[in-house]
């Protein structure tokens, strides 16, 4: 595979004893993953997997973000200069690096001391350990952008407690570090002022043993309090509403809940977020998470790649371009979704996102054979 790692100051690399440290270094852009970074990560993870002297990987972000997702502006630019296929390369590397991260044998500790969003979440969650802090803000904002949570999100969101994953994926609601810990998206909470001490401690342990790593982090970690107004306290409502079969039924259940419980903030809040999102995005996101629940990491990735290709190709809906226009380019915050209503998105349209792209010399993402090991 060709290398796109020319601009490799976008990831800073440190070698300390048996530890490799990767720092995402685009602080002005909130460390969004460029194509160069994706391909570089893919190389780095491949090398670490082969290199028996590497025992632990630490990944962190420079500035106030860990990683705010993929560099969508770059994707749009590449597509505008060529065709939709040009944009798929970003995702190809994104998927490949996440796949490697998930299945290779080197434990990774992600220091998430700030914003972590969309594809950025995958880079941390697919590793072994996630350290969050009081500065952490998590969200999967894709449905508001006309896309869907990808880079294996359907794998890990579907494995959260109850129907919390559906809630996060559909609404794009934010979580704090404490909430990430509570729902299992993070393994440890460490106050940010202790991160450098933790880093030093991890440099010394010289082992891949997850128990040793975990207990090392434990020495610095705390059990944070969940704020009173946390969605995680609403798990019963979430389970009741977000377990429904369709988007229409989920919204109807939330509306019932809101009507029955006037003081409760949660249902109306969720409805508001979902009403802002692309109707098509909501439907494919729900299906993606539900299917992901049955599938292994490899299957999820191959399927999500198909889906994102349809999104970029714009053959079923062009909401992604509209979302990027409204949120990222024109910044009017007022996307005109098409179809504009949930009920106008037919099952047949949703089905098409899951079919192979019907174009000459176009192939599904090919992962190494063990992709189907259904880990």
């Amino acid at each position: 595979m060709a290398s796109y790692s020319t601009a490799n100051d976008q990831i800073l690399i440190e070698e300390k004893s048996s530890v490799r440290k990767f720092t995402l270094n685009r602080p002005k852009q909130l460390n969004v993953l460029s194509l160069a970074m994706g391909s570089r990560f893919w190389e780095l993870y491949s090398e670490c997997a082969k290199d028996s002297s590497v025992k632990l990987i630490i990944v962190k972000g420079k500035g106030r973000a860990f990683c705010a997702g993929g560099d969508v502006a770059e994707v749009i630019r590449d597509i505008s200069q060529g065709n939709w296929r040009a944009g798929t390369l970003h995702y190809k590397y994104g998927f490949m690096m996440n796949y490697l991260l998930k299945i290779h044998n080197k434990p990774q500790v992600a220091f998430i001391n700030g914003i972590v969003m969309g594809g950025g979440s995958s880079v941390s969650i697919n590793g072994r350990f996630q350290v969050v802090t009081e500065n952490t803000v998590f969200a999967m904002p894709e449905t508001a952008l006309g896309s869907f949570p990808d880079l294996s999100a359907s794998y890990y969101l579907s494995r959260l407690p109850g129907f919390f994953g559906e809630y996060l994926g559909l609404t794009g609601a934010r979580l704090s570090g404490a909430e990430m810990l509570a729902c299992g998206l993070a393994t440890h909470f460490v106050p940010s002022e202790k991160l450098s001490l933790l880093e030093e401690a991890l440099e010394k342990i010289d082992t891949s043993d997850p128990f040793v790593i975990s207990s090392t982090i434990n020495k610095f970690s705390e059990v944070p309090n969940l704020k009173e107004k946390s969605a995680y306290h609403k798990l019963d409502i979430i389970n009741k509403c977000f377990s429904q079969r369709t988007i229409e039924e989920i919204i109807a259940a939330l509306e019932r809940e809101a009507a029955e419980n006037k003081e409760d903030w949660f249902s109306n809040f969720s409805i508001k977020l979902m009403k802002k999102a692309s109707p098509t995005s909501l439907k494919i996101t729900l299906r993606s998470i539900r299917e992901g629940r049955y599938q292994g990491i490899g299957q999820c990735i191959v399927r999500e790649f198909r889906m994102i290709c349809h999104v970029l190709r714009g053959d079923i809906s062009t909401d992604f371009y509209e979302g990027c226009r409204a949120i990222l380019l024109d910044k009017d915050g007022n996307p005109k979704w098409e179809p504009s209503k949930i009920e106008l998105v037919t099952d047949e349209m949703v089905d098409r996102y899951f079919t192979k792209i019907d174009e000459d010399d176009w192939d599904d993402l090919v992962l190494p054979a063990f992709a189907f090991s259904k880990l």
């Binding site: 290779h104 109850g162 389970n239 009741k240 054979a369 880990l375």
Partner: protein, 675 residues
């Protein structure tokens, strides 16, 4: 989530390019894995047909509803999710005590209720509501038989009795309340002394016109209600089946609604309830025994769709003949046999998916010096054990789908057909399940003994299927009895056969070629011909035997009873032919070529194995000895041809991984020390 060391090494080696092989090898022998798990997806060929299309064909309907319910179960801790080898499995904890299993089963029902699974199960009308209900019940069955049975008793037996035996006043009062579980119903039919012979039950009900009440009594110990699912712990109401005695005249079996517990769960006055105790399986169902001591119920509680008693105590029925009345009464109960037959097939699918996936990853013995050990499914003998059962499961899936539609679209004219088809398929499919479970259990070796691997436990859980809703042997006798009646009627009136699929008897007898070539054996025409030939000949023989016995002075009934050997053969012949017909029909509706070809292969396997197994083909000369040997050889070839597709065929069952078991996946990781 820990991956064992050697597994990651294997993965690493995959990751490493080949040019690094040398350096990896220098890492030393000591760290190399002794045995590695390779997912069957890697070692198997790419799927030759679209697995999703095959699943749609097999599941038939409400695919998205099914997937939604699987999701609901996986995501709740009530369904006992367990992380093994990096994967989540949901299987009930069968190591729980009987009481614990009963309580968790009830809690699971509450969860499903809260999430809207049972919406419209009793109040919904029409085809779509019915099909949704059946689809969801099948999914529940895949998780746990107890859960499905407890739900089935409440909705299909109690709810069904009210729906079918009751009239508007009962529907208004009970259906919605039952659907919402405000009341919990059970179904008190079987007694200690009478099971399949419902007409012989001894519970007696009389009418007191002064108070306008019925009075129900258990006159003797053999009349105690027995095996009443739900009665021991949870049910608040029951449908009591009882002889109705009006003014000294027995009017036969009738059904009455009786409350047995109050809302707090206290047993009502004049009712005694005892537990049936621990069983070989299905311990999540609280089977109980009930005695009635002068229990008084309002007159309105008689389920009066077929017969009623007026306020002043007159017996009223539009159907004068008690036999017919009884028949009309029992007809709706086919739902039980339908759901049992369907669930049996899903149980075989679980066990085959597990055993075949395991056989594609487990090796035993090498056949060359220093060679790799051989995958279990690469042994022809192992193929011969599992693949024919797989083919039969496919065939019976299509038969089950046919039965389901026959039931849902039933009309009064089809009641007899429905009775015969449901009897035959309930018996054949549940026997097939038990046999498959045993074979799959053995095929998994020691791993089959662990309850977490499901198959062994399923034997206990599903064994009851050959007994409840009609003993299989009794049901099969009903099949041959109905066939004989059809035969006698056609001959007596000298009219063509027009029922039970016996129309082929009107045509000339099919001729089987004396030399069976490979292509003949695999042709649908030959296959249906030989099944029809067997059925036709056995029916003729059976009719002759019965009439000969009658000529010697035996009664019709005892002539039938002594003819049991032919009757059994005949019942099987009928069922096999029916199954094959449904298979061919399903196949004909498929347009996709790879799918069609696969189905053709499976159909041939189904037929040839049936030919090989039933001695009747040789005994009565439908096949020559040479032909039988040819058939046997062809089975070996078919095994080899189906072998590469084994994985895609079980993947088409549409059962999510979480509902299979650890040995179906990375069983090395699942059993590693760190797990």
């Amino acid at each position: 989530m820990e991956k064992v060391n050697f597994r990651t090494q294997v993965l690493t080696r995959h990751l490493l390019n080949n040019d690094h092989r040398g350096t990896a090898a220098t890492a030393g022998i000591s760290t190399s894995p002794c045995l590695s798990y390779t997912p069957p997806e890697i070692s198997s060929k790419p799927f030759p047909f679209d697995v999703n299309s095959m699943r749609k064909l097999m599941d038939g309907h409400n695919i998205e509803d099914r997937d939604w319910l699987f999701n609901l179960m996986i995501q709740s801790n009530l369904f006992n999710p367990k992380l093994r080898g990096g994967k989540i499995f949901v299987v009930p904890d069968y190591n729980q005590s009987m009481e614990q299993q009963r309580e968790i089963t009830m809690k699971r029902i509450q969860y499903l209720l809260d999430h809207g699974v049972f919406e419209r199960w009793l109040t919904g009308k029409g085809f779509d509501a019915e099909m949704r209900k059946l689809a969801l019940l099948e999914v529940i069955e895949i998780f746990d038989h107890s859960l499905a049975i407890k739900i089935g008793v409440h909705f299909f037996l109690w709810g069904g009795a009210i729906l079918f035996f009751g009239t508007k006043r009962h529907h208004d009062k009970w259906l919605k309340a039952s659907e919402d579980y405000h009341i919990k119903g059970c179904f008190a039919m079987t007694e200690l002394g009478h099971g399949s012979n419902v007409r012989g039950i001894e519970t007696i009900t009389t009418y007191d016109s002064k108070t306008e009440e019925f009075v129900i009594n258990t006159p003797c110990e053999s009349a105690q209600k027995y095996w009443i699912g739900g009665a021991a712990n949870h049910a608040t109401h029951t449908v009591v089946f009882s002889q109705l005695n009006i003014d000294g005249n027995n009017q036969g079996v009738h059904a009455f609604i009786t409350q047995i517990r109050d809302a707090d769960g206290n047993i009502c006055p004049n009712i005694r309830i005892a537990d049936c105790g621990h069983k070989i399986g299905l311990n999540g169902v609280d089977n109980g025994r009930i005695w009635f001591d002068n229990v008084r119920i309002p007159r309105e509680n008689l389920l009066n769709s077929v017969a009623d008693v007026s306020a002043d105590g007159k017996y009223l029925s539009a159907i004068k003949d008690p036999d017919q009345r009884f028949g009309a009464f029992m007809a709706p109960l086919t739902s039980g046999r339908v759901t049992i037959a369907l669930s049996a097939i899903y149980s075989t699918k679980i066990s085959l998916a597990i055993a075949i996936r395991y056989s594609l990853t487990r090796r035993a013995f090498s056949i060359t010096p220093n060679g790799d050990e051989v995958l279990l499914l690469d042994y022809p003998s192992h193929q011969r054990r599992l693949l024919p059962l797989l083919a039969k499961t496919y065939a019976m899936t299509f038969a089950g789908n046919y039965l389901k539609l026959l039931y849902v679209k039933r009309t009064p004219q089809l009641i007899k057909t429905l009775h015969v088809v449901s009897s035959a398929l309930k018996a054949i499919l549940t026997w097939h399940n038990m046999r498959t479970l045993q074979e799959c259990r053995e095929a998994c070796g020691g791993q089959g003994l662990k309850t977490e691997n499901r198959i062994g436990q399923l034997k206990g859980e599903f064994d009851v299927q050959s007994t409840f809703e009609g003993d299989n042997n009794v049901l099969m006798q009903q099949v041959s009895k109905a066939m004989l009646a059809e035969y006698v009627a056609a001959k007596r009136r000298n009219k063509p056969f027009k029922d039970l699929g016996l129309e082929h008897m009107n045509k000339s007898c099919p001729v089987i070629p004396s030399r069976l070539t490979n292509s003949t054996l695999r042709s649908a025409q030959f296959q249906i011909d030989i099944f029809c030939l067997r059925e036709r000949d056995l029916l003729n023989r059976f009719a002759i035997e019965v009439s000969e016995n009658q000529a010697q002075g035996e009664s019709k009934e005892s002539a039938f009873i002594v003819g049991y050997q032919l009757a059994e053969d005949l019942g099987r012949a009928y069922s096999d032919r029916l199954i094959l017909q449904t298979f061919i029909e399903a196949e004909n509706n498929v347009t996709d070529t790879p799918l069609k070809e696969m189905l053709g292969l499976i159909r041939s396997m189904y037929v040839l194995v049936s030919l090989d197994e039933d001695v009747a083909f040789l005994r009565y000369g439908y096949l020559t000895v040479e032909a039988a040997a040819t058939v046997r050889k062809e089975i070996v070839k078919l095994c080899a041809e189906i072998r590469p597709h084994a994985l895609s065929l079980v993947s088409s069952f549409g059962i999510p991984d979480a509902f299979l078991s650890p040995i179906a996946f990375d069983w090395v990781a699942a059993n590693s020390w760190s797990n």
